[in-house]
């Protein structure tokens, strides 16, 4: 894989998240019922940042933030290949009746979001679930769309969108990686 282009730097990421936080508040007139759920791994710090932005705009305590692991809800268990590590789901609040914002870094096929919806619904009955993603790269395989998007980036399937976050990777940036000719396997 080689880096083809940088599609977001730290400043653009900050602006995008700030805009998304404003949009979330516009769509949710009752911020008291809001809660954020990040999909492991990079959705979790992004959910935290959005919650902090919402709190700063409103001048009130940040809405609760949870972490969701969707591994056990994936529909590709039969695929040949290694299984992903199962992490803990940490949602310390009752999801029932809340307006949830599900947060992930990249929206691609939509299968992760489908799994996340199944996982959330097993935890209770939220009033509403909205989806926020930093990057929408297209190639949906399911009828799923995001309510809040940081940036829409049309990509080729052979390309790979890599979101790097300070909390996980030590820096804030989004790059497109491209598979080099002759390179086998998945990125």
């Amino acid at each position: 894989m080689r880096a083809k282009a940088e599609i977001m730097d730290a400043q653009e990421m900050r602006r995008a998240l700030s805009r998304m936080a404003h949009e979330i508040l516009e769509q949710n007139p009752d911020p008291g019922s809001l809660a954020f759920i990040g999909v492991h791994r990079r959705g979790v710090p992004l959910a935290g940042r959005l919650a902090q932005q919402v709190a700063a705009i409103e001048g009130r305590p940040a809405p609760p933030v949870g972490a969701l692991d969707i591994t056990l809800y994936r529909d590709d268990l039969t695929a040949v290949g290694p299984l992903p590590v199962v992490r803990r789901t940490e949602i310390d609040f009752d999801v029932s009746g809340r307006s949830l914002v599900l947060v992930d870094d990249v929206l691609y096929t939509g299968r992760t979001v489908r799994a996340a919806l199944d996982a959330i619904i097993d935890l209770g009955r939220p009033a509403r679930i909205q989806l926020a993603v930093l990057v929408d790269r297209g190639h949906r395989e399911l009828p799923i769309r995001a309510d809040f998007v940081g940036k829409v980036v049309p990509t080729a399937r052979r390309e790979h969108v890599e979101v790097r976050l300070t909390e996980v990777d030590g820096e804030d940036r989004v790059v497109i990686l491209e598979r080099i000719e002759g390179e086998g396997g998945r990125p």
Binding site: L77, T78, V85, R111, V161, R186, P187
Partner: protein, 319 residues
Amino acid sequence: MRAGDRGEARSTWPRHLLGLADLGPDAIEQILETADAMRQVFDRPVKKFPTLRGRVVVNLFYEPSTRTRTSFELAAKALSADVVNVAVAQSSVVKGESLVDTARTYQALGTDYLVVRHASAGVPHLLARTVQVRVLNAGDGAHEHPTQGLLDLYTIRRRKGRISGLNVLIVGDVLHSRVARSDIWGLRKLGAHVAVAGPSTLMPVGLETLGVRRFDRLDEALEWAEVINVLRIQRERMQRGYLPSLREYRLRWGLTDERLRRLPEDVLIMHPGPANVGVEIDEAVLVDGRSAVAEQVTNGVAVRMAVLYLMAGREGEAG
């Protein structure tokens, strides 16, 4: 990060779970970590994950064991698998069907996992060599009981926060105990110090080759131990001359109420169950806050869920 690829993936995993002797420390750690995630299912309103939907788990028990069988059944059902329980008295084994034939029949019926309990050591290994189905050892003779060993490790780690460097004592009939063997292998691989205590008639030859210390007096051993795993004494051992009397066993090797009072506040007491109350362990010990006997049962389901999940991938791989 590509959607659909959540974090790092496991690299290698054995096709079967036959014993802790052949499992590396990394694999054991991975089971314990996965069990931690699985344990969350008990606190949720919907106590199920859809992970093994459409998979078939057959519990093939040639020896009666309600606890282990139920635990495997609940674990498989919590992952949405379909479960079939086969009690041997009702099966074609009584009509002369061999072990291997039975396993082949279940393979032909579309079984994905065969959970096997048998009185003879090595039966799960034989089946693993014969059929393509994934085989889980649920206890083979006096050899291994890997999921019990794993749930003991998990319980210790949950209660004590670590395994490495801990002094773990196994008390009782080590000679006939498959739990003791799995515990010893697992604990040693994760860096615990392991000791045994019990009548010399019930101690196997060559224990020292496993890196295990032996105490001849229980009270001395209890002073050393941070974790105590009390094994069940089977009453037929008395008839076969291994023990003079159950009363004497209790006096010399039983974890009695009186011995409990001398134990430190942070000691952890375990028992694989079912216990012979008043023989190897007293009622007061079982209900004491230092005992994790009930928790072991809950943890057993989480550990078995973890194992079933981790064995689920790599379809189509042979051997």
